[in-house]
Symmetry: C2
Subunit: 524 residues, 2 copies
């Protein structure tokens, strides 16, 4: 029988060997060519915001760092890993990895040799800005790539989507409930990222507990179906629920007919509950025209003297659907004698598939690029030219800054060389990353604050940073989102936030492009 | 410090509590209302093929079952799980779960009580056909829902995408290499599904080994960049690679300039290799116009007497991009004096992000619906009405059949009651699942074979099925894909495959809809 994985196999598939083979073939090459002691720097960044098709993100929210750090600590190469590598063969049947390299790896195959700077989780981030900077021995810094990207790309993608959903919900409670449509056990990382980015709660029971939150959930259609099939009916199902959970009575009302069966039956049960001294929580709508149904359900609830019970909406929600529902409620509620804002305040949002899979754009294009390598104690910047000038990464070791304007809004992110320190109250020159014709000057009075974005997290493997909890990450996110211009926060066609280069970095980049291009022409 | 998860926490988040809370609140309600002994049946099926936007699947490929079975065996409730449930509280601070229910769960909280029938992994499947049928105690059959869907939905989604990619590659070798853009550790499930559905190899080192395949991979741009930054250049990087891997020499040629640097340097190194008695493997192109570049690269390689070296293509490939590349090669290669088919035969495809995230449609809409419940020893069919007649699930216990026509092509899937046994050589009446006006009759000579699709896998928890290995699953997939009409296999706008009901099931469904609707009108 083919088993899923034994425990040993799961450790294998999620540990050091959770990587693309070419990281290891390159590692052996570096070892064989005498570069085992060479130090290198890699930048992790994304090139473009998620584009969901008919809508696009104007900012991202970082997430995943704490899990990456734990992975790095635990994913030291094991004897099992080495045995796998020893078993790999090439076309001729000869072993791919030699005992020389595997012997080296047994001693040095740990990520604890690396220094890591990063933008903390929960922060708003933009394209081209290094989110993570890894420095250390070339081999292990290179091998880290795959696992780093798999973990940081996905969580950043989902935290970003969650921030958009939360924004569209105008502060309403958002519950993540996408496990069943997530990508297998990636669900747990998705739940975590959603809680950092904007979800208030999750239905994911185990993960919610691990992260310190009470999970949320009530009942599904199947409960009502079961009662109906047993000849008991929806009302009896609701009564059973109220009996079992008198203080948590939230009823799903669309199994049979929302307005003619579900809501009236819920009201009957709510009245019985109230007579017994309990206040009901509310109802959930999971199909149909959610704007229309929430207005009509609110009307019935109000008339029955339940003006405060919540109305939870679910069914393929995302930021655009929520926006559309709230727009429709604002327009239509008054024609039914309802105050739209009062209705909107009682809404809660259950968001599933479209959040946990980032529907429309399912992968953040985060990359991990070599930016510098040491030779005889001196850092030499590395660059990769490509067809498109836009895609040439910014070379060398660098710093990242956020510049705030006179209104204390974030106005630009600025990348500089390590030697440059832009300061508040000083005139700043900002260069477009690829177009020499585009640069601008911020006058001194428009520079109210210049904030460094990267923090040293690991110093040669030693954790030198107090990792915050999810609540603190959420506060960072709320603060950063609030500091964005509203145009950047637009759900559709957002205003472009500027990421610029300092004059020092701009000059270095141009010089390097020219020298490599000249080198090419000379036959490198 | 917030740690990713301790081992104990990971087990917690991936075990019994890898579920939506409402499964457990419903479970307690069933326990409290005396339904702990009630038996139920649930069908798992999807309602629509993945729609990627500008293209759509005309069939799916099942995957994920073996991992689900292992999860079911291992995810028995533990004392840790019970402690978590004991700690959950509601709005008033009171405990959500009582000791009565938790005591029951401690004894009965195992999925080993369930009987499971399923369509084996690797088979072609269609909307509305039950892929998995779960029968057993209502509580545990209900609690299984979330984990079953998370595991089967994702792997089926990816196996489907992989089958399309393999079809578009006209049999060329496909290598899965998407880990870095996958959804965290969901990557490993995605790799497995890709290997079942159509990928020949993967770069995912650990998972490849666990599944019994040699992983694939060579080097990245960063290797060439490192050599350039150290003042050595691309040629020296290629020489180092050939030195380290003389029999596996596959060189990535687009770091500097594909046609003016990469390919000429690769040829220099290939010639040196050949003089030393080794044949090179080939080159990889990872940017630019892959059709044009592969033609020009093939021309240079041919002229240098390397007419057989492979050309691996990568960079955002999916089934449409591959189709477009091959179409362009077919049209353009002759104008450069190349035979298109010879070029296409030497191509290999590295497929990453768009395969492992199923770009365009990131979640299979698989659902898990109550279809029957026992009362006093008799099965009572359950149904859920909804706004759309199309979405009413097929009620009751049922069988699923595949009907083959005179040319031995699959012509329809047929759902029937357990009492019906359609046979080859008999006239078959096929009813549209929702539209009474649409039915057709297959004459006896058009029914060459009627194959049951569901196999009993677990009999009250006991495994009664020999689970095949990945190679056997691939053979099933190849056989099933070959049995489809070519119209159904079209990458864009595929012909609709028919899933029909037998007259017995059609009658049951209509009767049940009417009785529930009448019941509603009577105030249920």
């Amino acid at each position: 029988m083919l088993r899923r994985m034994t425990f040993q196999e799961q450790r294998l598939a999620e540990g050091f060997l959770f990587t693309d083979l070419y990281q290891l073939t390159m590692a052996q090459l570096y070892f064989r060519t005498g570069m085992a002691g060479t130090r290198a720097q890699f930048d992790h960044f994304f090139r473009a915001y998620p584009n969901y098709g008919d809508h696009q993100a104007g900012f991202c929210v970082t997430a995943g760092l704490a899990w990456l750090l734990d992975w790095m600590r635990e994913a030291r190469v094991t004897d099992d890993d080495l045995a796998v590598l020893r078993s790999l063969t090439g076309r001729t049947g000869a072993r791919l990895f030699g005992d020389d390299f595997l012997g080296w790896l047994k001693v040095h195959g740990t990520f604890e040799s690396l220094t890591l700077r990063a933008v903390p989780e929960g922060r708003v981030v933009h394209p081209g800005v290094p989110l993570t900077v890894v420095e250390g021995p070339l081999i292990m810094a290179q091998v880290l790539e795959t696992a780093l990207l798999a973990q940081l790309n996905y969580q950043t993608l989902i935290a970003t989507k969650a921030a958009r959903v939360k924004d569209s919900a105008r502060g309403g409670v958002v519950i993540e409930m996408g496990v069943r449509r997530a990508h297998d056990r990636g669900a747990n990382a998705g739940t975590r990222a959603a809680l950092i980015g904007g979800a208030d709660f999750t239905s994911n029971t185990g993960m919610s507990h691990v992260l310190g939150f009470q999970p949320r959930g009530t009942h599904a259609h199947s409960m009502v179906q079961a009662f109906v099939a047993l000849g008991l009916g929806e009302l009896e199902a609701f009564r059973a629920y109220a009996e079992t959970y008198p203080d948590e009575c939230l009823l799903l009302v669309d199994t049979i007919d929302t307005l003619h069966s579900g809501v009236p039956n819920a009201i009957t049960v709510f009245e019985e509950l109230r007579r017994r001294g309990h206040e009901p929580v509310g109802i959930r709508l999971d199909s149909g025209d959610l704007a229309y149904l929430s207005i009509q359900a609110a009307k019935q609830l109000n008339e029955a003297c339940f003006p405060d019970t919540t109305i939870t909406l679910s069914s393929n929600l995302d930021e655009l659907v929520i926006w559309q529902i709230l727009t429709q409620i604002t327009q239509e509620a008054p024609t039914y004698g309802l105050e739209p804002d009062a209705l909107i305040r009682r809404l809660t949002y259950g968001v599933g598939t479209r959040l946990i899979t980032s529907e429309g754009d399912t992968a953040l294009g985060g990359v991990y690029k070599l930016v510098a390598i040491q030779k005889e104690g001196t850092w030499r910047p590395a660059i990769k030219l490509s067809d498109s000038r836009d895609k040439v990464p910014n070379p060398g070791s660098k710093r990242a800054w956020r510049v705030y304007d006179a209104r204390h809004h974030a106005t630009a992110d600025l990348l500089s060389t390590p030697e440059e320190t832009p300061r508040a109250g000083e005139r700043l020159r900002l260069y477009h990353p690829s177009d020499p014709a585009r640069h601008r000057t911020l006058p001194a009075h428009e520079v109210s604050r210049v904030e460094p974005l990267l923090t040293t997290i690991l110093d040669e493997g030693r954790l030198v940073y107090d990792l915050p909890d999810i609540t603190a990450m959420r506060e960072l996110r709320e603060r950063d989102v609030a500091a964005l211009n509203t145009g950047v926060r637009r759900l559709v066609n957002p205003h472009i936030y500027h990421v610029s280069l300092s004059s020092g970095l701009w000059t270095l980049k141009q010089d390097l492009i020219h020298s490599v291009m000249n080198g090419t022409h000379n036959g490198i």
